[in-house]
Amino acid sequence: MGDLLAIENLKTYFDTEEGTVKAVDGVSLRVKQGQTVCIVGESGCGKSITAMSVMGLVEGPAGKVVGGRIEFDGQDLLPLSRHELRTIRGNDIAMIFQEPMSSLNPVLTIGEQMTEPLIEHLKMSRKAARARAIELIGQVGISRAEQIADSYPHELSGGMLQRIMIAIAISCGPKLLIADEPTTALDVTIQAQILDLLRQFKAESNMSILLITHDLGVVAEMADYVIVMYAGKVVEEGEVVELFANPKHPYTQGLLKSKPVINQRQNELYSIPGQVPNPLELTESCYFHDRCAHCMDICRTREPRLKNVTDESKVACWLYEEAVVHG
C-alpha cells in the first residue's frame, strides 16, 4: 500500500507582533491508504495547524506555509493554485471540526449546506443533490431525514450536527478524512457513537483518516499509527500497540501516565510538571527539557533528531541517542 498523504518537513509559521511563531516546524508524516493516523499533543502543539496546512486553509496573511512538501495521492499540494486546491478540498480531502455547533452556517438549512459540495464537485443537479443529502442523513443514523434537511442548525443537538458534518465530509467520497478533535465538544456517550460512525464509513470506503486529538482514549480506539507532537515538532511516532505498550519519549510517557484508568481510583491524577514553552522564546534545545525528569546537559543546548529506535517506532530524544552511541 502506498502513501496517500506524505508530508515532508512541513513548516508553517505565523508572523505576530512579538515575532515569528513556528507553529509547525519541520513535521513529516505519512498516511497510508485505509490507515488511521492520529496526531496527539497538548493544545497549541501545532496539530490543528498541520491539518489546516494540508487543507490550504491556514489563516493568511499572518500564517504561511514557509517550507516543506505536502504530497497527496502523488500530487504536490503546495504549488497548486487556489482553484486547483479548491477542487480537491471537500472532494478528495474532507474535514470535520471540533465544534459542530458553530461549524454550520446558522442562516442556511442543513439541506442547503449539504447539497453545496455535491453540486460543486459532483456536478449534481439541485434535485439529485437534495435526494442524495437526504440519503446521507439517513446513513449517518438520523431519522426523519426529510424534516432534518429543512431544519436549521440551531434546531439540532451537537451530536446530530457532528453527524451532519460527517455526512457532508463523506458526501463526495473523499480519499482522506481529516478529523480535528471531532469528539472533544461532545459528551461521552455521543463520542462513542461518532467514532463508531467514522470507523463504519472507513470500513465501507477504504478511506484514510487523519485524526487529531488530545484524548488518548480516542487514540487507543481508532488509531493504527500514532504521531506525538510537542511544540510544533514530532517527538515520537509508532504503531499504536507498540506506542501504548512501550512509550519511549518522556513526554509520551507523561501523557500516558496522566490518563485516568477505569476502576482505579487515584487521589491525584498525574500531570506533567511545568507548562508548554512560549513558542517565541524557543532556542536550540529539546523543547521538552525543562519539564523532563531525565533532562541532561545536551538537552538544553541541542535539538534531538527523530530517529528509528525499532523498526516501527521513531523518537526524538537524547536518551535514545546515547543508547545508540554507547551501544
Binding site: M55, F97, E120, H154
Partner: protein, 317 residues
Amino acid sequence: MSTYLAKRLVYMVIILFAASLLIFCLYALTPGDFISGNIKLTPERKAELREIYGLNKPVLERYAVWMKNAFHGDLGFSLSQQKPVLTLFNQYIWNSFLLAVVSTFFTWLIAVIIGVIAAYKQYSWFDTLVMVAIFAAMSLPSFFIGLFLIKILAVDWKWLPPGGMLTTGSNATGLAYVKEVVHHMTLPVIVMTLLGVGSLTRYFRSNMIDVIKQDYIRTARAKGMKERKVLFTHALRNALLPAITLVGFELPALFGGSLIIEQIFNWPGIGQLYMQSFSLRDYPLLMGFTMLIAVLTVIGTLISDILYRVADPRVRL
C-alpha cells in the same frame, strides 16, 4: 407570530399617544406663538387672531381638539402657508423622498460592496485606502462638501446645476421633465451618499470581519466552495443581520428630509418647509410633521423586527 403582532400594535398605539401628548406640550410650552412674532399687529388684533386660531385655550383642550381632528384624518391648516397641512406634505415630502431614496440606495450598495472587499482584504493597501477615504468623508462637514462641489462641478465646470429641482422658468413635461430632475438631483445625491457611506462602510466592514472569522466560514471553505460563494452566500447573509436594525431607522429618514442639504441645494423638500415653520411657530405643520416621523419610526422598528424573523431562523417572535 400573530399574538406578537397584536401585542406590538397595542404598544404602538400607546407609544404614539404618549408621543403626541409630549410633542404637543413641548411645542405649546415653547415661549411665543405664531401671532406674537408679527410686530405689525396691535395687541387687540393679536387677541382677536388668537381667539380665531384657538391659541388662547388651555393646552390640554387644544390637544384634545387636535387629536379629535387627527383621528378624522385632518391634520389642520398651516398658519403661515394658509393651506391644509396634508396638502403641503404631499407637495414637499415626495421631493425629499426622491433624494433620500436614491442616495440611500447608493449608500447601501457602495457600503456593502466596499465593506465586504475591505474586510476580505483586511490591512491590505485597498483596505487602508478605504479607511482613510472614509475618515476624510466623515470628517468633512456637509455644508463644506456641498458648497465645494457646487463651486467645482456647477460653477467652474458647469456640469451640473447648482441648486433647485427644475431650471427656473422650465415647463418641461414627460421624459424631458424626468431628465431635468435627474440632472438637478445628481449633486445633492452625491453629497448625501458621500456623507452617509462612511459610517455604513465601517459598519459592514467590521461585521464582515467578525463573520469571516467564524467556524462556519472555515467549513464552507473546507467544503471547497468558491471564494465568491463563501463571501456572498455564507458570510454576507450573516453580516447583514445586524444591519436590519438600521433598516428601521431608515424609514423615517426617507421621509424626514434633510435640513442642511435641502438648504444648500435649494431643494423644495420637507426639511426646508419644517425649518421655516419652526421659526414661525406654525404649530399645525410642526405637529403634523413630527407625528408623521413618530409614526414612521414606530412602523420602522416593527418592520425591522419582522425582517429579523424572516432573515434569521433563530429569531422567534
